[in-house]
């Protein structure tokens, strides 16, 4: 009985391993993601339109914050993504450093500008939400300060990567910095619990439910999924461009450009 399961599972496992191996090949990655990216953008567009319609048009005004709570639909997904992208960058950086996988170096380095963009949006929109809610654009509390440190970490990774000429050496140095900077992630997450901050605590928990009304929660969840598609499409687009830039003397890139020029 067990042998049958093992036999049945083997081809599936092999297919997954084959797929991961194929993704490590630059020509295959370039070709495959080129077909995938337009679909990811399409899903992002549909989800964003749906989420914003529900959040900005259908959801009622908050009884305490009035209309300003609608900033939540851009601020909260951006803040979540700023941490998620840093986590994925650190994990990819770890794989790149330990197993010397070139595609992981490229993906980790392509994540940094997208993460920086999300962090910047989280900080600016949070500040714009803070003015009508708290009466101030900025306070040096633990959550806001640690999120600002996250932006500097992203900028540091990007700066270090561009400061070294040889791309693989640059990526390894920047991946190491990304790994060290990961210590900031639990600080951001737990800052509202560890310190007395002006920033509110979590309203949504994976285990403990949510204290937001469903009419306001659903648009937020839709937007949170939509931004993941934005990250995926943007990351793959950036990775493809980096491949072209790094492999410009290689046969597969020159053949690709020759075929396009015909």
């Amino acid at each position: 009985m067990n042998t049958n399961i093992a036999v049945k599972d083997k081809p599936r496992k092999n297919a997954l391993v084959m797929f991961i191996h194929k993704m490590g090949s630059p020509p295959w990655f370039y070709d495959f993601t080129g077909k995938l990216i337009p679909w990811i953008w399409l899903i992002f567009g549909v989800l964003t339109a749906w989420g914003l319609y529900l959040g900005l048009v259908k959801a009622p005004a908050d009884y305490l914050q009035g209309e300003s709570f609608r900033i939540m639909y851009i601020h909260v997904p951006s803040a979540w993504m700023s941490m998620l992208i840093y986590t994925s960058m650190a994990v990819m950086g770890f794989i790149a450093l330990v197993w010397r996988v070139r595609m992981m170096e490229i993906l980790a380095m392509s994540s940094a500008p997208v993460g920086a963009a999300f962090t910047l949006v989280a900080l600016v929109t949070g500040s714009l939400w803070g003015r009508p809610t708290w009466g101030t654009y900025w306070v040096w509390d633990a959550r806001l300060t640690s999120e600002l440190v996250l932006l500097f970490l992203y900028l540091g990774v990007m700066g270090l990567y561009s400061a070294i000429d040889e791309p693989r050496k640059a990526a390894r140095a920047a991946c190491l910095l990304a790994l060290v900077g990961a210590v900031n992630l639990p600080i951001i997450h737990y800052s509202v619990k560890w310190w007395n901050t002006l920033h509110q605590g979590s309203s949504i928990s994976l285990t403990g439910g949510s204290n937001i009304d469903p009419s306001m929660l659903w648009p937020l969840l839709i937007m949170a999924i939509a931004v993941k598609f934005y990250y995926a499409a943007n990351l793959l687009t950036r990775a493809r461009v980096r491949l072209l830039e790094q492999d410009l003397r290689k046969g597969w890139v020159q053949n690709l450009v020759r075929e396009r020029s015909k």
């Binding site: 009035g66 910047l120 934005y230 950036r238």
Partner: protein
């Protein structure tokens, strides 16, 4: 205090940053393809002159 300007400002900033972030790699791709085409032309012309 009206909250509308803050909402508009937040979504405008978000749209500008995300649009820039999505369009910047396309501009880099265009420039990379131009460099590759120039490189191919150089290699082909040097191949023609040095048989």
């Amino acid at each position: 205090m009206s909250h509308t300007p803050f909402i508009w400002a937040a979504y405008t900033v978000g749209t500008i940053v995300f649009l820039w972030c999505a369009l910047a790699p396309l501009a880099r791709k265009k420039s990379a393809l131009r460099d590759i085409r120039r490189l191919i032309q150089l290699e082909e012309s040097s191949g023609d002159s040095n048989p």
